[in-house]
């Protein structure tokens, strides 16, 4: 039995990617298995944990809750796309290191996407706004405190 393949063209981190995919291939599996962009993590695979967060046309979304075919014609930013042009860590990523905003790192790519999207929309967020923005991302190591500190530090540094 062969399944119908759909052609898709998706701009991922500024690079145009073309592929043929079955309709049921989730976006996160496409990113990781097809494009080998393994910075985006697969956590719960049903929209609870936020580890698979990516930006779709600039807005954070859960890539386990989208089929790849639905992203056809759209722009994605994954955690790999957050680094600076020379490949060094972004201000936000460096701030996570500074404040010990990660331990095992499983949630970190999703946290970074959620926090970067917040900072893009609101360069000076309050603690409540930070907590709201990362409210859909689960972390089992840090207790969140250092992640909130990281986002605040990044906001201060980017002023």
């Amino acid at each position: 039995m062969s399944e119908k393949l759909h052609p898709v063209t998706i701009e991922v981190n500024g690079v145009r990617r073309e592929a043929q995919v079955p309709a049921r291939l989730s976006l996160v599996d496409f990113l990781r298995d097809e494009l080998r962009l393994t910075g985006t993590h697969v956590g719960c695979e049903h929209g609870i944990c936020g580890a698979c967060s990516v930006m779709l046309d600039g807005e954070p979304v859960r890539s386990c809750l989208m089929y790849t075919v639905q992203a056809d014609g759209h722009k994605l930013t994954t955690v790999e796309g957050l680094v600076q042009a020379d490949g060094s860590l972004s201000v936000l990523q460096d701030s996570f290191c500074e404040t010990h905003g990660l331990q095992c790192g499983y949630c970190t790519s999703g946290m970074l996407i959620a926090a970067q999207a917040l900072l893009n929309a609101n360069p000076d967020p309050s603690e409540a706004q930070i907590r709201e923005a990362i409210g859909g991302n689960l972390c089992r190591c840090t207790g969140y405190q250092q992640i909130v500190e990281a986002v605040r530090l990044a906001a201060e540094r980017m002023k």
Binding site: E3, P22, S26, D33, R62, G136
Partner: protein, 326 residues
């Protein structure tokens, strides 16, 4: 709302996956099945992206086992767990004509595929229909509201979801379209049971008409959930209008999570009209509403606890609405 049955969650991995001519592999899946099975969780389905509402209706009419996908924030997990296995998915995300917010004199018309985040950020909408923004603050998380749509939430009809409750309390009207024509159903007739509506399989929710109250009006939404963003154990919302003396001219309130559909209590609310919305009047209304509920017990809350929450939260919502109206 999501049933975390590990047997279902694991069902998509390898065991049922047929070999596909696709270059995607997951090591684990290949290992289990001995073939290059793709990393997929949903059962196979055919897919079409509808360019217009007419095309979406035509696809629904042509394919018996077709389902619409809007934001997919409830449907995709259900498909991943294979609780739902539609043969055909009609994607309405790219239909621009289904995305709009049009304020009118006594109502706001909202296109069914308008994203929840769009509504959340709309200041004019918040001024005209404050209950909607108040409800949206409890809906999922930023990432799910960025994809989730207003129509998708209503059509999914989870009895503890926030937007269906707001629609029920305000008496929103759903405009349904099919290849045969269109019809309009009020929320009370639209929601027919848990995750069930009066929509036929060939119908698409086109737009929602939300009544807007003029004058000195206040509204409030509140709920108790295990974690913020989870589905509510019990949710309550209220809207009241008062005259210059603070006397109630109109009231509506309702409860979610305590029955198969969101509940509104028009008869009890009507008794608030003419009062000054004193605490005693509100408490009596809240107690009356809670007594009419028929919640179930589960791991998270007993029936008695849900009824207790229903009374407390209905009272809280009415009091907050009163404060905002005066």
């Amino acid at each position: 709302m999501i049933d975390e049955n590990p047997a279902l969650v694991g069902a998509g991995k390898g065991a049922h996956a047929a070999p596909l001519p696709c270059v995607s592999f997951r090591l684990l899946a290949s290992f289990h099945s001995g073939t290059h099975a793709p990393a997929v969780k949903s059962a196979p389905f055919e897919y079409a992206r509808a360019g217009s509402l007419a095309e979406a209706c035509e696809l629904l009419a042509r394919h018996g086992d077709a389902k619409l996908i809007a934001g997919g924030q409830s449907l995709v997990p259900m498909m991943a767990m294979r609780l739902v296995r539609p043969a055909f998915l009609v994607d309405i995300n790219e239909i621009a004509a289904l995305k709009f917010v049009k304020p009118e004199k006594d109502s706001v018309r909202i296109g069914a595929c308008t994203r929840q985040c769009t509504l959340e950020r709309d200041e004019a909408l918040a001024a005209k229909l404050p209950l909607l923004r108040q409800a949206l603050a409890w809906v999922g998380h930023a990432q799910t509201r960025n994809r989730g749509t207003v129509g998708g939430s209503l059509a999914h009809a989870d009895p503890s979801a926030e937007l269906p409750l707001a629609a029920q309390v305000l008496g929103a009207k759903m405009v349904l379209r099919s290849s045969k024509g269109s019809r309009t159903l009020e929320a009370g007739k639209f929601f027919s049971g848990p995750m069930a509506t009066a929509m036929r399989a060939d119908e698409c929710l086109q737009e929602i008409h939300w009544p807007a109250w003029n004058g000195r009006t206040g509204s409030a939404f509140t709920e108790i959930a295990i974690r913020h963003g989870d589905f509510a154990m019990v949710a309550a919302c209220a809207q009241v209008s008062v005259d210059a003396d603070g006397r109630c001219t109109r009231a509506a309130f309702g409860l979610g999570g305590v029955a198969g559909t969101p509940l509104a209590f028009p008869k009890i609310a009507a008794r608030l009209a003419g009062t000054k919305l004193e605490d005693a009047a509100i408490d009596a209304a809240a107690a009356g509403a809670a007594a009419e509920t028929d919640p179930g017990s589960d791991l998270h809350a007993t029936r008695e606890y849900r009824r207790h929450l229903a009374r407390v939260l209905a009272g809280r919502a009415l009091r907050e609405a009163r404060e905002r109206a005066s």
